[in-house]
């Protein structure tokens, strides 16, 4: 459902960041849900990311950022997908200062690699980051919550102390500092964490590591109970996963079942209906406990049937719409993929 023909997209982007950075999208590896972006761009600098976004905003190309690709199934299916923005070439470590406990890296550095690095100096990202995951620092920060394979901590919100982001106006912005304790100005860094790349694309990330001593699985910030519910197909493979997050001390109730086992094929209408009803019950349970139920992954047709983020839109949705309009007025970043179709 591209606005432009693929050759036109590729030619236009080539003028912005060079043909050498572009290739045609290929299924299945470049699929975003069931959409195949016709062009994959792999910029090699933050400046090129900004150039690309500026060009996309001018031309109305929908951009889907990706780094490790571990959360490709997360979010509502995008309305459009013209360019898959592969950040994989931006994976270097900029700085690790054990004395300051500060790590600066490009977005595609793997969380596990970063953890190994800081662990060698008796520090850790654990508790704040899903260190056993295969995800990247930038992807984890953008998703703002753990990936499918590492549910547990609340996510990386606490430890991101600075970002550089590329915006659809073609500029780069820097917020935060190389210190954990910093209250100068609005905390814009926090807006980008958990925004799923819908306001800007993180091109550099600064985080604090913590001393390792006494650090167990429980951290000062892990009071909320997160658990995972899922749907299994007739052959036992996982078809969908849901993150349930309740205020601490409340365990998973016996009903509805944490696992829904399907007898029918996942692509049948009845499977989709059963998923929708099961999710709705979970959302009732979660909302009664002041918690949330968020779909982490599901077949695109199932996701189109619900909002993966929430049953009722957040009370502050009007403010969120204004924010989106401020940063991405032409809606080129992950259009439709965020909460309530933002």
């Amino acid at each position: 459902m591209s606005l432009r023909e693929p050759p036109a997209v590729r030619e236009t982007l080539a003028r912005a960041i060079g043909a050498a950075r572009l290739r045609d999208g290929a299924a299945p590896r470049d699929l975003v849900d069931d959409l195949l972006p016709p062009v994959v761009a792999r910029p090699e600098s933050a400046g090129e990311v900004a150039e690309l976004l500026g060009c996309a905003a001018r031309e109305g190309f929908a951009v889907i950022p990706t780094a490790g690709g571990t959360r490709r199934a997360f979010g509502n299916p995008p309305e459009r997908a013209d360019v898959l923005l592969d950040l994989g070439a931006l994976a270097s470590l900029r700085e690790w200062s054990p004395r300051d406990g500060v790590l600066v890296a490009e977005p595609a550095l793997a969380v596990g690699d970063a953890e190994r690095l800081v662990a060698a100096d008796a520090q850790t990202l654990a508790g704040d980051w899903p260190v056993r995951s295969t995800g990247t620092l930038g992807g984890s920060a953008a998703a703002g919550r753990p990936p499918l394979d590492a549910l547990g901590p609340a996510g990386p919100r606490w430890s991101v102390i600075g970002v550089e982001v590329a915006l659809p106006d073609g500029t780069l912005r820097r917020h935060g500092a190389r210190v954990a304790k910093n209250v100068a100005g609005f905390d814009v860094t926090r807006l980008h964490v958990g925004a799923l790349g819908t306001l800007g694309v993180i091109t550099e990330i600064t985080l604090r590591a913590r001393p390792r001593a006494g650090r167990k699985s429980e951290t000062p910030f892990s009071e909320s109970n997160a658990f995972r519910a899922n749907v299994l197909g007739p052959d036992g493979t996982e078809v969908a996963a849901v993150e349930l997050r309740m205020p601490g001390g409340r365990l998973a109730p016996a009903e509805p079942p944490t696992t829904l086992c399907l007898d029918e094929p996942a692509d049948s209408a009845s499977a989709r209906d059963r998923f929708r009803a099961w999710l709705a019950r979970w959302r009732e349970v979660a909302s009664a406990a002041n918690g949330v139920a968020i779909v982490l992954a599901a077949p695109p047709s199932w996701k189109r049937d619900v909002d993966v983020w929430c049953g009722e839109p957040p009370a502050a949705l009007p403010l969120m719409r204004k924010l989106k309009a401020l940063y991405d007025p032409t809606r080129v970043l992950n259009p439709g993929r965020y909460v309530a179709g933002l």
Partner: protein
């Protein structure tokens, strides 16, 4: 006009909740940063969210600025009514609405004092993490507005790490709920944006906050060092050894001398130390035992001349006494104290601390350092006599030089006190034109008429030329 406004405010909150006589309003000219002042037209003390909403809506219609205020303990001028207007003080909204011990959550009104919540949580084995020095009186609404810290921010983080949900009144009087009862609610992190926004985006009328479990055991070490450098290097060594003290505070020779010179505040600190560290280590008994031994070894290796240990509550309190009374003691030096709040990466501590000594000598001022060493948050305290214009000018210029050095070291102009009015002219050291314009755009997005707490935090919205001259405390150093 003013009388009509006062009458309209009284109609909403009742005449007993409006302060409008000149004599009483002098109390509200400034906050604890006494160098900027303003004249409010009235102060209102609403009792409910609805009253706040109606007051703010009225001011919006009348184009009158609104200045939110908690206990007025802020140190950057954030609650000073520099453009006049109506102060909304939360003193009568001080109910703890609920404590859910199992979920480790509390819902509170904004006027609840920081220490009051912790005291209420204590029987449940819980505590509110942030513990600013003014905790006995400063309010949780103010803590959220300023993103307050405190000695234990090293391990437990700033206020932003502890606020999950906010009920706020926007500039037009609309009430909005942000966040919720769990971390990671769907949608943009507006709680993260509003916390630390210094009252520019909304007036907080309720907060959902985390409570943290009390550590099973805490021990305190008071360690004396023969030089600033040795003490600062020990701070870095402790963290690099993988220890995570819950607090890691430092006091320099001048601070110790000031404390010990006062009969009221004397705590028996070592007078011959150039720097003393106060280290809280918490955890299980076994963990603490091991951490104390390790920390002592590290400090001795850096040349510590004395280590005192407080293992029980009363001996710990004694060791902390001097630290807690440092600001009070310093006020006695010359009457006025300019408290700086720069943050530097730990590795830069020795260099920047030595720089403050150099600055003090050059400006002919007394600067005492008492600070949160573990997270590199410096509080150089510049003593001056506010009645002496030249000395005041020197104090401000010296402060600017030190904060510039913090930024140049990769740090920040403020670790926990906020920008307020005080640091407006330093913001462009940390942010480019685009980033500052972005903050202004965010402000206008939420408050298009710029009526909430004008003249704070964002240099470009300082407003009219007259106000600009009035608020420009100090230019750039040299």
């Amino acid at each position: 006009m003013s009388d009509r406004l006062v009458a309209a405010l009284s109609a909403i909150v009742g005449p007993d909740a409006v302060v409008a006589d000149r004599a009483s309003l002098t109390t509200y000219e400034s906050d604890a940063f006494g160098l900027v002042r303003g004249d409010a037209r009235a102060v209102v003390l609403p009792r409910s969210t609805d009253e706040v909403s109606r007051v703010v809506a009225l001011c919006h219609r009348e184009h009158v600025p609104v200045v939110p205020r908690g206990a007025g303990t802020g140190l950057s001028g954030g609650a000073a009514p520099v453009d006049g207007g109506v102060i909304v003080e939360t003193a009568r909204m001080k109910r703890i609405l609920s404590i859910d011990a199992a979920a480790r959550l509390a819902v509170v009104q904004p006027g609840v004092a920081n220490a009051v919540l912790s005291a209420a949580a204590r029987p449940h084995g819980l505590v509110f993490g942030p513990d600013p020095s003014s905790g006995a009186v400063c309010t949780l609404g103010g803590n959220a507005a300023e993103n307050a810290g405190g000695p234990h921010a090293l391990k437990h983080g700033l206020t932003t790490q502890h606020v999950l949900g906010l009920e706020v009144v926007l500039a037009n009087g609309e009430v909005v709920n942000l966040g919720g009862a769990v971390d990671g609610m769907p949608g943009y992190d507006l709680v993260g944006l509003f916390v630390g926004s210094e009252g520019l985006l909304g007036v907080t009328t309720a907060l959902t906050v985390r409570l943290s479990p009390l550590a099973p055991e805490t021990r305190t070490l008071l360690v004396a060092f023969p030089s600033l450098v040795a003490g600062c290097e020990a701070v870095g060594d402790l963290i690099e050894a993988g220890l995570e003290p819950s607090a890691l505070e430092a006091l320099d020779r001048g601070t110790i001398a000031t404390i010990e010179a006062s009969a009221e505040y004397a705590a028996g600190y070592p007078l011959d130390a150039e720097l003393a560290l106060l280290v809280d280590l918490d955890g299980t008994a076994v963990e603490v035992e091991r951490a104390v031994a390790e920390a002592s070894r590290i400090c001795r290796a850096r040349g510590a001349t004395e280590i005192r240990e407080g293992a029980d509550e009363s001996s710990r309190r004694k060791l902390w006494k001097g630290r807690k009374s440092a600001f009070g003691a310093m006020g006695r030096l010359r009457g006025d104290v300019y408290v700086l709040d720069g943050t530097v990466p730990r590795s830069a501590l020795p260099r920047v601390l030595a720089f403050t000594v150099d600055v003090a000598a050059r400006y002919g001022l007394t600067i005492c350092n008492v600070f949160h060493a573990g997270d590199g948050n410096l509080h150089p305290n510049i003593s001056f006599d506010g009645r002496d214009p030249d000395m005041t000018r020197r104090a401000l210029a010296a402060g600017a030089e030190i904060l510039r050095a913090c930024v140049d070291a990769g740090g920040s102009i403020t670790g926990e006190h906020g920008v307020g009015v005080e640091k407006l002219s330093f913001m462009h050291w940390m942010f480019g034109e685009r980033e500052l314009a972005e903050m202004e755009a965010l402000k206008r997005l939420v408050d298009p008429s710029l009526s909430l707490n004008p003249g704070k935090l964002i240099p470009s919205t300082k407003g009219c030329a007259e106000a600009k001259g009035k608020h420009d405390l100090v230019g750039e150093p040299r």
